[in-house]
């Protein structure tokens, strides 16, 4: 590279200019160019300006338009040379008026194609476990390729990079890197393409050669941006421009005030590092750099520029800080520089939103939030909606975060999970879902599906499962609608359910087609909805590219498709081209370069965010990179530091940060700490006026007008006419323990929905055991067969099948059921000596007169047996823990006593009223010392007569009490009788008023 330098002398002294930090770069640049061409505005179009990026070109264009006050002018030619794609570069050269050199640069391979080809190679070499993993590794390899090629290095250096003793470890990485060192060049050659970085280098070199041999006769202005300077070939081009007869190199924010010793000690992470490198390349000292504009700009805060420069001082000379005085930097540096330290990122976002909203109060004022933290950007954007202000984050978002991206992903996931309830609903409720139905019609269908078909245990896989679950409801429309849906997406879901490998192209094609079809509305085709807007366009472009190279993806198992497409979509960032707001904007660092606003907010100024920690290099350590010739990871810090220095010198700046992130304390950004320390040295206090103001606003905003008052225990007293007159025996227990449940259920008519995809739990297990026992008893009321246990087990199997219990759950229930079966048969045999089954699952209803009119109790007994003395025994199976006898005595568990009462009163269907001898709980849990246990409720001091009498009186008293309109339906009236389950505790807000000890008796 150095061989070029002497040749520069062919040309004249270099022309290098500086635009001081603190000035609006593009405005000053444009103003001066306009001034140079003021006599003949037509000259303006002779100018060629080399800028780092397309965005920078646009920013400069806007500046020209601003300065010409909308008058039509012929703009200079503007060329991005930094981070641009090769096509653009080629065009740039081809359109050059004076190009005579023959440039022969092969086409470059697209990033996507390269990633997929590399991934394929990785998989072939068995270096990754699956293709989607290979894709991620390929991305990392591609980055490595780019770096090596940008620096113009050869892979030969890799072999001897590592000292002997570590060589064997290095071999492993080396053999992996063979993919790029050995295989990759061959792949490229066979396709006749080259890498992007390579092509950029070739093009830049060709440009250098052209201009060197045929110096252009028109003015060439190059912006010596830091990012451009990190590309060696571009650096060379910039240096050349400085030496061209009509060339001018403009530096953004060269620090002219820094002392020479410090300048000589600048390290790789210093904001001036790349500018210094550029000057060295040009062969000019700082003294030789002229100021681009001689106009005095009153808005420039020179003290601030000095403060920031001082703060950025290289570590080696920082011992000089302590000698700083107010003569070096005056308090004026802090005019227009505020900082707000917030407690949480949310507070920070609210503060920023307030500042931006406040800026709108000044007519014409512009304000920009600049932050590398996209989460913060999103929060601010949401917080501003409070005032109906809509700003897009120009920092960009991955496609997977945007509507079209989430839609594509949900379509894939829904199919991959074979219509599992949660993904299915997310998919059906996505705003892009339409399925050619009117929105309200679709919503009705989906809500019905949500409430009645998908709740509770998961239906079995695929449409078959949904059809079975829906069939139970006997609602034809639902079945028809599911069929309609199935017809539309079957093609894709069937393919995704295949266990074998499938062509990626087929999957992708079906995926896209289904995504479009389902987005069809009654009158707009889905494709038109999906691919519109910036995100839509980006998605469509990307998927188009992907289809073009889909052949490079090997066949894969459908289960890997979702993560593969997810990885690929995630790597696509969509940046809105134009902000939605004329005066406010949210920018990332790159977008903010060369940008200007009247007021700048620097958000998320914490270590790890600004600057971000350099990414881990999976291939080489720091010293290895250095030895190999790659730039150190501190490169990114230097760039970030320069960005920070540029924007923090603007006339009005507010720095914000959050003291905690995800509950962990944060460390302020290094530059902020440096500024603090410099201020400390001078003895200036940073006023906290702004912090106090905005933070108190945020606090006030969320403060309710009156302080919140906790509610007291609810005591609803609905009119007697609205109170239930008919309850089941189990509800009567709830009524006693927690009247509020009865109120919510019967007066308000509420009921809890089952969770989606619920695991079958205790209730279902109970149903299963009951069903098996019932079948058995029903079949053998007289004699028990020899193989009773086997018989019972068969009934159990049938019940499980009937209930569609998933294997995973059955595995837990079955061993215990086997135990139950064995023990139950033994117990039943003994019991048959005393009584014989009479009826099972038998319903009862009994009505009696009460103050508020007739009241009906109903219930269902698991089993009623008849003893040989013609008396009855009522049996209730409990698959969990039966109620304690003390609860029964106290009347808190009245189920069986109520059934006894009803039997004696003749309330049971098909059973003439008769005498009850005893009541039994049969524990059939299958666990513990006694897996099956028969427990009688009567005892000598608590005979059946007393049980029935007690419950009769108790029931009537209870009904009578609630027939008094003044009796409220309290929630948890007695702490010791609290129910085990309640669906309504959140509704009665127990946690708000029910301090444990406070929960005294009230009724």
């Amino acid at each position: 590279m150095d061989e070029l330098q002497p040749e520069f002398s062919e040309f004249q002294e270099p022309h290098v200019y500086n635009i001081t930090a603190g000035l609006s770069f593009v405005d000053v640049l444009a103003k001066e160019i306009l001034k140079q061409t003021v006599d003949n505005p037509l000259f303006l179009s002779d100018y060629t300006i080399l800028l780092p990026s397309r965005r920078a070109c646009r920013t400069l264009q806007e500046a020209f338009l601003r300065l010409s006050h909308g008058a039509a002018i012929l703009l200079p030619t503007m060329r991005p040379i930094g981070d641009v794609d090769a096509d653009e570069m080629a065009m740039f050269l081809a359109s050059e008026k004076d190009v005579v050199e023959n440039i022969d640069v092969p086409p470059s391979i697209s990033k996507l194609e390269r990633q997929l080809l590399l991934a394929q190679t990785i998989q072939k070499a068995e270096m990754a476990q699956s293709f989607d993993q290979a894709v991620a590794l390929a991305q990392e390899l591609g980055r490595f390729l780019d770096e090596v090629q940008t620096e113009g290095l050869s892979f030969d250096g890799l072999l001897n990079l590592v000292p002997e003793e570590f060589a064997s470890h290095w071999q492993k990485t080396l053999s992996f890197l063979q993919i790029v060192t050995t295989h990759w060049p061959n792949i490229l050659k066979s396709r006749g393409v080259i890498d992007y970085a390579e092509s950029r280098n070739l093009l830049l070199k060709a440009q250098i050669k052209t201009w060197k041999n045929h110096p252009p006769k028109t003015p060439i202005i190059a912006v010596g941006d830091t990012l451009t300077s990190t590309v060696p070939a571009a650096l060379e081009l910039l240096a050349l421009v400085a030496h061209l007869p009509q060339g001018m190199l403009i530096l953004p924010g060269l620090d002219e005030g820094m002392d020479e010793i410090s300048w000589s000690k600048i390290s790789e992470d210093h904001p001036q590092f790349y500018i210094k490198k550029l000057l060295e390349k040009v062969g000019i000292s700082r003294g030789g750099v002229k100021s681009w504009s001689l106009d005095e700009d009153k808005s420039l805060n020179k003290e601030r520029v000095r403060l920031i420069s001082e703060a950025m001082r290289p570590a080696d000379t920082t011992e000089n800080w302590r000698n700083l005085t107010l003569d070096d930097i005056s308090e004026h540096a802090l005019v227009g520089l505020a900082r707000v330290d917030c407690d949480t990122p949310q507070e920070e976002a609210d503060v920023i939103a307030f500042i931006m909203r406040e800026a709108l109060e000044t007519p014409g004022k512009t304000c920009a939030l600049i932050t590398p933290d996209r989460r913060l950007a999103r929060r601010v954007s949401l917080s501003l909606r409070r005032w109906d202000i809509h700003i897009d984050d120009s920092g960009g978002q991955p496609l997977t975060e945007l509507s079209v991206g989430t839609w594509l992903m949900l379509v894939a996931e829904m199919a991959a999970e074979e219509l599992a309830p949660v993904t299915l609903l997310s998919f059906l409720k996505h705003p892009l879902m339409s399925a050619a139905m009117s929105p309200h019609e679709l919503r009705d269908r989906v809500q019905f599906l949500d409430a009645y078909v998908l709740r509770g245990p998961r239906p079995s896989k695929g449409f078959a499962g949904l059809h079975t679950a829906a069939a139970k409801l006997e609602k034809k429309e639902t079945g028809d609608w599911l069929k309609y849906l199935e017809d539309q997406i079957k093609e894709f879901t069937d393919m995704m359910a295949k266990p074998s490998e499938v062509s990626f192209r087929d999957l992708l094609t079906a995926h896209i087609r289904i995504s479009e079809v389902l987005a069809n509305t009654v009158d707009i085709p889905g494709a038109a909805r999906l691919w519109k807007g910036e995100a839509g366009e980006a998605a469509s472009l990307f998927l188009g590219d992907l289809l073009n190279v889909a052949e490079d993806v090997p066949n894969l198992k459908p289960e890997h498709y979702v993560s593969l497409i997810g990885t690929l979509l995630k790597s696509q960032t969509v940046r809105p081209r134009y902000g939605a707001h004329p005066r406010l904007s949210i920018l990332g660092q790159i977008e903010a370069r060369l940008y200007c606003a009247d007021m700048v907010i620097l958000g998320g100024v914490n270590e790890g965010v600004w600057p971000a920690l350099p990414a881990h290099d999976p291939w080489m350590s720091r010293p290895m990179r250095k030895a190999f010739g790659l730039p150190s990871p501190e490169k990114s810090i230097s760039l970030a530091a320069h960005d920070f220095a540029q924007v923090s010198t603007a006339s009005e700046v507010i720095i914000t940060r959050s003291k905690k992130l995800d509950g962990t304390p944060t460390v302020p950004a290094r530059w902020l700490l440096r500024i603090e320390t410099v201020l400390k040295a001078i003895g200036i206090n940073w006023p906290d006026v702004a912090a106090l103001k905005y933070r108190s606003w945020v606090k006030k905003m969320d403060m309710p007008k009156d302080p919140p008052k906790p509610i007291s225990r609810p005591a609803p007293t609905p009119p007697v006419a609205a109170r239930p007159r008919k309850l089941s025996v189990t509800r009567i227990e709830a009524w006693m323990r927690d009247p509020y449940q009865i109120y919510a259920q019967y007066v308000l008519g509420l009921g809890a929905l089952d969770p989606l995809d619920a695991d079958p739990g205790g209730a279902e297990r109970g149903t299963f055991i009951h069903a098996a026992l019932e079948c058995f008893i029903k079949k053998y009321p007289e004699e028990m067969p020899e193989d009773s246990v086997e018989n019972l087990l068969t009934f159990g199997r049938d019940a499980l099948k009937e209930m569609r219990i998933p294997q995973e759950v059955e595995a837990f229930w079955w061993p215990r059921f086997e135990k139950i079966a064995y023990e139950f048969v033994r117990e039943e045999n003994l019991w048959r000596l005393e009584a014989k089954p009479y009826l099972t699952e038998v319903s009862a209803e009994w009505q009696f007169e009460a103050e508020g009119g007739p009241f009906i109790v109903r219930g269902k007994a698991d089993r009623i047996d008849k003893c040989y003395d013609e008396t009855y025994v009522i049996i209730d199976y409990k698959s969990g823990t039966p109620p304690t006898s003390s609860d029964v005595r106290q009347g808190l568990s009245p189920q069986l006593p109520l059934e006894a009462l009803m039997l004696e009163k003749g309330g049971f269907d098909d059973i003439p009223s008769g005498k009850v001898k005893d009541l039994f709980y049969w524990k059939v849990s299958g666990s513990g010392q006694k897996p099956v246990e028969r427990k009688a409720l009567t005892s000598k001091d608590f005979p059946i007569e007393k049980i029935i009498l007690d419950v009769d009186q108790g029931l009537k008293a209870l009904v009578g009490k609630f027939d008094n309109v003044e009796t409220p339906y309290f929630s948890h009236p007695r702490a010791e009788a609290r129910p085990r389950f309640s669906d309504f505790d959140h509704l009665s807000r127990v946690k708000e008023w029910g301090v444990a000890s406070d929960e005294e008796d009230v009724g």
Partner: protein, 412 residues
């Protein structure tokens, strides 16, 4: 010569003791209660490391990039960083006199001009540390090593840490795999072990237990390996459980009880006589007789009746009863105490054996499932497309042995 360890303990000036603990030339272990200045000692030590050593050139200072500080919590790490920054920021701008005083207190001697100058530069130097000053949690350290060496660790670059929810999902996946296998081959050892556990656990409890197992899976893997069990097997380890409990791994509960009813004629007669006596005795005695009678009469059913029978001899807590018969009964049949006590001891032995056997059986089932789970978890984790993995110390430790060289190279 005095023992330096003792000497330090005798030292009661806390400042001196702290100074000694922060001396970078010594390896120290500091244990102290909260709020007594552990973080200060650690901070002091880091600061002293970064200063040139007394009487040595500037280069004797340890570069900040070569210091690794590990903490247990992110909060502690941030706290440490902030404290160091605060101290150093103050140093860089303090008047000479004050700085000298502070440095003297820190290093225990008057600092040279060079040390003073370096101390002032340290603030900016620490901020500029390549890759940042490494004050991190154990977890983030392990993670950074793995991220630096993904090829060696067999991980995708930029892998993500598993979150709690996905971890449970993985676990569930493994469990479901096991269940599927259990149902395919209900006679296998795995199925037996699984069904054994389900008698004690419902699905939620099983899931909890598996989570506990997984959180200890590094330890478990080491145990399995140590016993010579590899890749999802647990045979040797299980054998060791029986050996440790002095049991024959082949013995079943049935074997143990097979001879339970085999009494000598003499014993049989003795017990029958005792029964006769008890039947005629007090109410308590009659109750006992009720437990004994079926056992004596239904010879073929003795194994099943064991627990019922044992109630005649044991208290609720399972200990041998103090009185086997009431006074009157003892008078009618004096040998009853002897007969009953002997039988009680025999039963007690069997009961204890059974307890041990059940304990061993349960453990063996648990180990078998655990070994399956550990193996499958690793496997599923590897084929899972999301490449989420949880860093556990073992994974890292084993891996670290492979890449000792990273000590020679700064990590990032």
């Amino acid at each position: 010569m005095t023992n330096p360890f003792i000497e330090e303990h005798l030292e009661d000036n806390p400042n001196l003791r702290q100074a000694r603990a922060s001396d970078p030339e010594r390896s120290v272990w500091v244990g102290a209660s909260a709020g007594t200045g552990k973080t200060k000692v650690l901070t002091d030590r880091v600061l002293r490391l970064m200063l040139p050593r007394l009487g040595l050139p500037r280069e004797s200072a340890t570069p900040s990039s070569k210091i690794l500080c590990l903490t247990f919590t992110k909060t502690a790490a941030a706290e440490m960083s902030n404290r160091i920054h605060e101290r150093l920021s103050a140093w860089s701008v303090k008047p000479d006199v004050e700085l000298k005083k502070e440095l003297t207190a820190l290093i225990g001697a008057e600092p040279s001009q060079e040390i003073m100058e370096e101390a002032r530069r340290l603030f900016a130097r620490v901020l500029d540390t390549p890759g940042g000053l490494k004050i991190m949690t154990l977890h983030s350290f392990c993670q950074s090593v793995l991220k630096r060496f993904p090829v060696e660790a067999g991980l995708p670059p930029h892998f993500q840490l598993i979150d709690e929810k996905s971890a449970i999902e993985y676990l569930q996946k493994c469990l479901h795999n096991i269940i599927r296998e259990v149902q395919e081959d209900p006679k296998s050892d795995l199925a037996r072990a699984f069904n054994h556990l389900t008698l004690f656990l419902n699905p939620d409890e099983m899931s909890d237990l598996m989570q506990q197992i997984m959180s200890k899976r590094s330890l478990l893997t080491e145990i399995f390996k140590y016993q010579g069990d590899f890749e999802g097997s647990a045979e040797n380890t299980i054998k060791q459980v029986y050996v440790a409990l002095k049991l024959d791994p082949k013995m079943t509960e049935k074997d143990l009880f097979s001879r339970i009813g085999n009494l000598t004629d003499q014993e049989e007669i003795g017990l029958k006589e005792a029964l006769e006596a008890l039947l005629k005795g007090s109410k308590t005695d009659q109750k006992k007789a009720a437990f004994i009678q079926p056992w004596l009469e239904q010879k073929e059913d003795r194994v099943r009746l064991f627990d019922f029978y044992a109630q005649a001899f044991f208290t609720q807590k399972g200990e041998i009863q103090k009185t086997h018969a009431t006074k009157g009964t003892v008078e009618t049949f004096p040998d009853i105490l002897n007969v009953m006590q002997k039988e009680a001891e025999r039963l007690k032995f069997l009961q204890d054996m059974r307890k041990t056997l059940r304990f061993a059986d349960l453990n063996s089932s648990l180990l078998r499932i655990a070994s399956e789970m550990v193996g499958r978890y690793e496997f599923i984790k590897n084929i899972d497309p999301c490449w989420i993995m949880k860093i556990l110390s073992l994974k890292h430790r084993l891996f670290y042995q492979k890449i000792k060289w990273c000590i020679g190279y700064p990590l990032s």
